[in-house]
């Protein structure tokens, strides 16, 4: 495992892990060293369990943004058997923040689309850290059409801070493409599974988020606005981001409680960034299980249920109507 300091709240675990890694490097270990290793392993696991079973919302955001967190490309490598990238939006350009293509997973041939933040500096610069432009949404909409036409189930991996806010993005219709994508996904005549793997950043996330099943990884978050953005507007300073994070109720547990997601996928001990393989295996088993369920349903029924699922979301008070109180 690649040890990277990063999360402030993990400092103690990091020190233990560093110590452990040092000892594990030694080739001939004394019985005492073996004993220390065992003890340290136990301590690391206990510390991680204590931390991760009780992350506060702001810590969750930091885990969801962790630079070692598995991205769409990692899942393509680890959970899928093949990925054939399809680039063209046939309008303007190839947005590197949204990837799309044919993929195989278990016995299924699927269409996959996903935000990709990028691991290297070059990739991250090209993808604007996973913030898609309108051409990205146009690209994935064209792949959705293809999936519908050839009866390929659609899998959407969501991981974006938000759709890109820039001059070109506005000129090319950022608001319009996100609206259009939701509009089309809601009636797409093929099964659709959406999984928030890291950051579910508002409209940019929802633009590929209308599915028969919507799942979220345990330490991912899905929000109407970033905690920094919310703090800037309502508390007048980004410093209040941890407060905003708590107020927005966007952790996996909250999302399920609010009826916004169907499933929460457990992460490996200490978060997905500690064990990409295990996380990918969990995602793979979720996807194949869900694909099996969805393919058994007639498509009309599936699309009606998809409508009803989103139709139910929202909370309000319905006051009794007096018989003659029409106006």
């Amino acid at each position: 495992m690649d040890l990277a300091p990063g999360l402030e709240f993990e400092r103690e675990v990091f020190l233990l892990e560093t110590q452990l890694a040092e000892l594990e490097k030694q080739t001939d270990r004394t019985p005492e060293a073996e004993e220390t290793i065992r003890r340290l392993r136990g301590e690391v696991n206990d510390a991680l369990r204590a931390l991760y079973s009780n992350l506060d919302p702001w810590q969750t955001v930091q885990v969801a943004r962790h630079k070692n967190r598995p991205y769409t490309r990692d899942y393509l490598n680890l959970a899928f058997d093949e990925f054939v990238e399809l680039h063209g939006d046939k309008h303007f350009g190839d947005d590197r923040a949204l990837l799309s293509g044919f993929a195989k997973i278990d016995r299924f041939k699927v269409m996959i689309v996903g935000h990709h933040k990028g691991r290297t500096y070059k990739e991250r610069a090209a993808s604007h850290f996973g913030c898609a432009h309108p051409e990205g949404y146009r690209k994935v909409m064209s792949k959705m059409r293809l999936a519908e036409k050839y009866k390929l189930p659609l899998i959407c991996l969501i991981d974006t801070p938000g759709a890109y806010p820039g001059i070109g993005a506005e000129e090319r219709g950022q608001a319009q493409v996100i609206a259009e994508s939701m509009f089309k996904m809601s009636r797409l005549q093929t099964p659709v599974i959406c999984v928030v793997i890291g950051e579910g950043g508002s409209g940019g996330a929802l633009g590929i988020g209308v599915g028969d099943r919507v799942a979220v990884l345990e330490h991912a978050y899905y929000s109407v606005i970033s905690p920094e953005g919310c703090a800037g507007i309502l508390w007048k300073s980004h410093q209040y981001a941890p407060k905003a994070a708590a107020a927005l109720r966007f952790t996996s547990r909250d999302l399920r409680g609010l009826g916004v997601v169907d499933d929460v996928l457990p992460e490996p001990l200490g978060g997905a960034h500690r064990d990409h393989r295990q996380m990918a295996a969990c995602l793979k088993s979720y996807l194949t299980r869900t694909l099996t369920q969805l393919e058994a349903k007639p498509i009309d029924e599936l699309v009606d249920e998809r409508y009803e699922k989103f139709r139910r979301i929202g909370q309000f008070i319905e006051e009794p109507v007096a018989p003659a109180a029409a106006s």
Partner: protein, 303 residues
């Protein structure tokens, strides 16, 4: 660009998108409620200064012209109720779903509790939430009609706005009725109801997709401002999209964009005219002509 050089700023500055320009607007609303309750409308006083041309114009004259400046055609704010009076035939409007009331599902509190904010907004505007929906006649053509009022928490969409619009669209689908939605929202998706607000975008868009499939005619009218999650859902999904002149329309708020890219925004950026030039709206329609333009479009579409 700034974000490329500075990863941490990209994470934080990028995200206000669905909430559009709510920060600037929020300030306006709050100051408005603190100082004068009518600040967002035509200002009090016999003479008012037009923000479009800086001329002093006679208030009565502005009101007589549907809140449009007689000198420069600047379109002032109009409330949802005034809008109904301007667009629908007199006495024909029948509201729907007035009995839906907002609640506070997250028990959200910033510097003020959301539940208190709702009460004060309701008192200030006389509205129960930011959208009024119902049916009425436009030059004797019956329509399903909705209008959002940008004075109520920035015209932002929470559960009640989403539910009222969805019920209206479903009703219009069943009744095979043309649908007119006049949008004014600086706030986009309402932060105070968190993810539930975001999901209203999907809910309303899905209802519009069904309406579209059933052959319904949807005319979307964009007014100043239409931003964020409202622009990125129903407001952009019209078969026909009209906009009032010089309205601010876009996804990300200008301040967010400026903070992200670090350069001055071009003159006229995100205005109705900018959107027309880039191919995203069908017609810019002055307020005076809105009613007749809608009626004519309905006739062309044979509805």
């Amino acid at each position: 660009m700034a974000t490329v050089d500075n990863p941490s700023s990209s994470a934080s500055s990028n995200l206000d998108a669905v909430n559009g320009s709510s920060s600037a607007a929020e300030n306006g609303a709050e100051n408005g409620s603190a100082t004068s309750p009518k600040k967002r409308g035509v200002p009090e006083g016999l003479w008012i200064k037009c923000p479009g041309c800086s001329a002093s114009v006679y208030r009565k004259e502005v009101e007589r012209r549907a809140n449009v400046c007689p000198k420069c055609e600047h379109h002032f704010y109009v409330s949802a109720r005034e809008r109904i009076a301007q667009v629908l035939d007199e006495g024909t409007f029948e509201p729907m779903d007035e009995h839906l009331r907002p609640t506070d599902p997250l028990e959200f509190a910033d510097r003020k509790r959301y539940s208190e904010r709702l009460l004060s907004e309701q008192r200030r505007t006389g509205l129960t939430d930011a959208a009024i929906t119902g049916t009425g006649m436009i030059r004797a053509r019956r329509v399903a009609f909705a209008v959002t009022d940008s004075a109520f928490i920035m015209g932002s969409m929470g559960s009640v706005v989403g539910e009222r619009l969805t019920r209206l669209i479903e009703w219009a689908t069943r009744e095979n009725m043309p649908l007119i939605i006049i949008s004014g929202s600086g706030g986009g998706a309402r932060m105070h109801e968190g993810i539930l607000s975001l999901m209203q975008m999907a809910k309303v868009s899905a209802a519009l997709a069904r309406y579209d499939q059933a052959g319904g005619l949807f005319i979307s009218v964009l007014t100043n401002p239409t931003m964020g999650g409202v622009a990125a859902s129903f407001a952009s999904l019209g078969d026909l999209v009209f906009a009032e002149p010089k309205a601010l329309i876009g996804f990300a708020g200008p301040r967010t964009i400026k903070a992200t890219i670090g350069i001055e925004l071009p003159e006229g950026f995100q205005t109705s005219e900018f959107l027309l030039e880039h191919g995203y709206i069908d017609r810019i329609v002055t307020r005076k002509n809105l009613k007749s333009e809608i009626a004519r479009a309905i006739d062309y579409c044979g509805k």
